[in-house]
């Protein structure tokens, strides 16, 4: 996994609660057997006025001009501010792949759904949980001119022209992103313990290992 670097970008805001992973990436695209190419179809049902399918040329599809991602201003945005309980529903990791493939590196919300939150860290996407007051602060700062935000994970800070907000994050998860840790290699360091566990348990619950 790539190491998480400091992010400097404008911020996009989608003001909706309970955005589920079906909305982030609709089912017809789950037929893919690869991880790449989901950026074009991120938020597909909201982003396009016509239905789409895997393998379509999405640049030919009619876009919804009211949807924020179709606003040129957000073309290169890497930070997404969303409503609470973002990523609820299906466990599909395609949702995280789509956000990353589009270019997002940081998500900000008052809460994320458990499986989605977990999936983010497996792919180098940083989900930041803020309290309501801090989120309000950012929303109030959204204006016609572009405001650049800097997200520094090492310092656990979000920084812009007007203020700095510090955020909490679990030490272990932070390290995973900063070092770009491969979880599997990390786990395989415990090979001996896993084998010992299996030896011990196959005597207590032998039917499990049949």
């Amino acid at each position: 996994m790539k190491k998480f670097q400091e992010v400097k970008s404008v911020l996009a805001h989608i003001n909706r609660k309970n955005i589920d992973t079906d909305s982030i990436i609709p089912k017809q695209y789950l037929k893919a057997v690869k991880r790449e190419g989901f950026g074009e179809i991120l938020f597909d049902d909201w982003r396009y006025l016509e239905s789409g399918n895997l393998g379509d040329n999405h640049s030919l599809r009619k876009k919804n001009p009211d949807f924020f991602l179709n606003n040129l201003r957000y073309k290169n945005t890497q930070i997404l501010l969303t409503g609470e309980n973002f990523g609820c529903g299906s466990s599909r990791e395609h949702a995280v792949w789509a956000l990353l493939d589009y270019g997002f590196k940081v998500l900000i919300s008052t809460s994320f759904a458990d499986i989605f939150y977990n999936n983010c860290f497996k792919n180098g996407l940083l989900p930041i949980v803020l309290n309501k007051i801090d989120v309000e602060k950012i929303i109030e700062n959204i204006s016609e001119e572009e405001v650049l935000y800097t997200v520094n994970l090492q310092k656990q800070s979000i920084f812009c022209n007007k203020f700095e907000i510090n955020f909490e994050i679990d030490e272990r998860r932070k390290k995973t992103l900063i070092n770009g840790t491969d979880d599997i290699s990390e786990t395989l360091k415990q090979i001996k313990k896993i084998r010992e566990y299996e030896k011990r348990k196959s005597k207590i619950t032998p039917w499990v290992f049949k």
Binding site: I115, N119, E171, I184, Q190, V208
Partner: protein, 466 residues
């Protein structure tokens, strides 16, 4: 120290502690389907890693398979590639798999318990959020993403942080025609779709003890819609008699030993939970979701919420969005909602007990002329066979339903079974999100009984009135 069932299952599978609450947890059973596994097998191959324990895996195609004309194979070339990729990954690695033409094929969460592959006390994962279903057997079961599928394939373990314990305690007895699906919707309408985030939920109370395993599975299945990845019900005689005599469950002396172990899969008496929620069901009625989130649910005899209702002040925007998308009005009565389609199926409600309930209601009746299509999709080939042995298929077909082959079908509409734009469906599945059953389609989640009654009348009715 006293322990909850969740604590016990966690401790039993503990391999290594990293500090700060992180542990390496051993995974006993790994269920696999075609949609969330190809990238995991790919990753494994790229890294040159082997599968740790092939015997821990059961694979079955379900999400993306046709529910009719199976003889001609999968028409959609992209779906076909995905199912073939699963076939290839399984045969290359010699994994247990139930093919499309195998009578044991079906929805992964129906097949696992039905075969006795999932057993009480196990840790069970699957790249699917409704893995919580298996908690009905007192197994620690939860959904994972594709990276974690790869992680389990390679290491048989997961790096996890322990959840908090929540007890949802049910008070009162289940009223007539109030099913575990209604109970799940009632709970979610009260605690919200994020109410269980960060928790493992255990369901307790006399009414829970009286539920069949099928009904318990429905309840545990819906736990993820309340935000908790794990739902649990303690093991008892019902659990053990369900699991005995399944094809893969232990036999003979092994069974005697296993039973002893399973009997202890309960929370200690008077253990304290991080959070307890009491829910009284004495006056509960069948439930219907009206919006685009499972928490937007009301009793079938009620009206939709009013926009100026203070209880929803913080959610007004969501209510408006939902009314808009669903083309409904505030304060409208649930019974005035007319339907186009009926879907009975999904890992929530496609087991034999569900089908019997439907048959009882639609016997010698005809579905309403309003209804463009009403389909029943059994959870597995074996459920289908059992239903046919009992003559249920004839009752369904006579009433005007289509009787299909097993799969996820219109629960998520990855195959041909889906809603057209603006169609409205009474569905026994688990998600009413925008577009879930088809772009711009409108879903109302209900129990099989309420769906069956709606099929006959063409709009929602209280099944107790018919």
């Amino acid at each position: 120290m006293k322990k909850t069932l969740y604590d016990k299952l966690w401790d039993e599978h503990h391999v290594h502690s990293y500090g700060n609450g992180y542990s390496l947890i051993y995974i006993d059973k790994h269920l696999i389907h075609e949609v969330t596994s190809p990238q995991a097998f790919d990753g494994l191959k790229q890294a040159g890693r082997d599968i740790w324990n092939k015997k821990s895996i059961m694979a079955v195609p379900d999400h993306n398979v046709p529910t009719r004309f199976r003889e001609i194979g999968i028409k959609d070339p992209i779906s076909k590639i995905q199912v073939e990729t699963l076939n290839k990954n399984c045969s290359n690695n010699n994994l247990l798999k139930f093919d499309l033409d195998d009578i044991r094929q079906g929805i992964v969460h129906v097949v696992g318990p039905e075969q006795g592959i999932v057993l009480p006390g196990m840790t069970v994962v699957c790249g699917d959020s409704h893995t919580s279903t298996h908690g009905a057997l007192a197994a620690l079961a939860f959904g994972i993403g594709t990276s974690e599928v790869e992680h389990v394939l390679a290491t048989q373990c997961l790096l996890m942080k322990k959840s908090l314990n929540m007890n949802i305690h049910i008070i009162g007895i289940m009223p007539e025609h109030f099913y575990s699906k209604d109970l799940a919707l009632l709970i979610i309408s009260q605690i919200g779709t994020a109410g269980g985030t960060g928790y493992a939920i255990e369901y307790t109370g006399q009414s829970i003890k009286k539920l069949s395993i099928e009904a318990r599975m429905t309840l545990c299945n819906m736990t993820i819609e309340a935000g908790a990845t794990t739902g649990l019900i303690a093991s008892d005689n019902t659990t053990i008699s369900y699991i005995e005599n399944r094809p893969f469950s232990p036999k003979g002396a092994s069974l005697v030993r296993a039973k002893k172990y399973w009997e202890n899969l309960v929370s200690d008496k008077n253990v304290s939970y991080d959070k307890t929620i009491n829910i009284n069901i004495s006056n509960a009625t069948p439930m219907v979701t009206w919006g685009t989130s499972p928490e937007m649910a009301v009793g079938v005899n009620e009206n939709l919420p009013a926009l100026d209702d203070e209880r929803f002040a913080a959610k007004k925007e969501d209510l408006l969005n939902a009314f808009n998308y669903m083309d409904l009005k505030e304060k409208q009565s649930v019974k005035s909602i007319k339907l186009d389609k009926i879907f009975i199926g999904s890992c929530t409600n496609s087991r034999i007990e569900d089908l019997r309930i439907v048959a009882n209601i639609v016997k010698n009746k005809k579905i309403s002329k309003n209804i463009k299509s009403a389909i029943i999709v059994p959870g597995s080939g074996l459920v289908k066979e059992e239903a046919e042995n009992e003559g249920l298929d004839k009752i369904f077909i006579k009433a005007g339903f289509e009787w299909r082959s097993p799969g996820c079908s219109m629960c998520l509409g990855m195959n041909d079974d889906k809603l057209e734009e603006y169609e409205r469906c009474a569905s026994t599945s688990n998600r009413n999100f925008e577009g879930r059953q088809g772009r711009l389609g409108r879903t109302h989640l209900v129990s099989p009984a309420t769906a069956a009654a709606a099929a006959i009348y063409g709009h929602f009715v209280d099944v107790r009135d018919i």
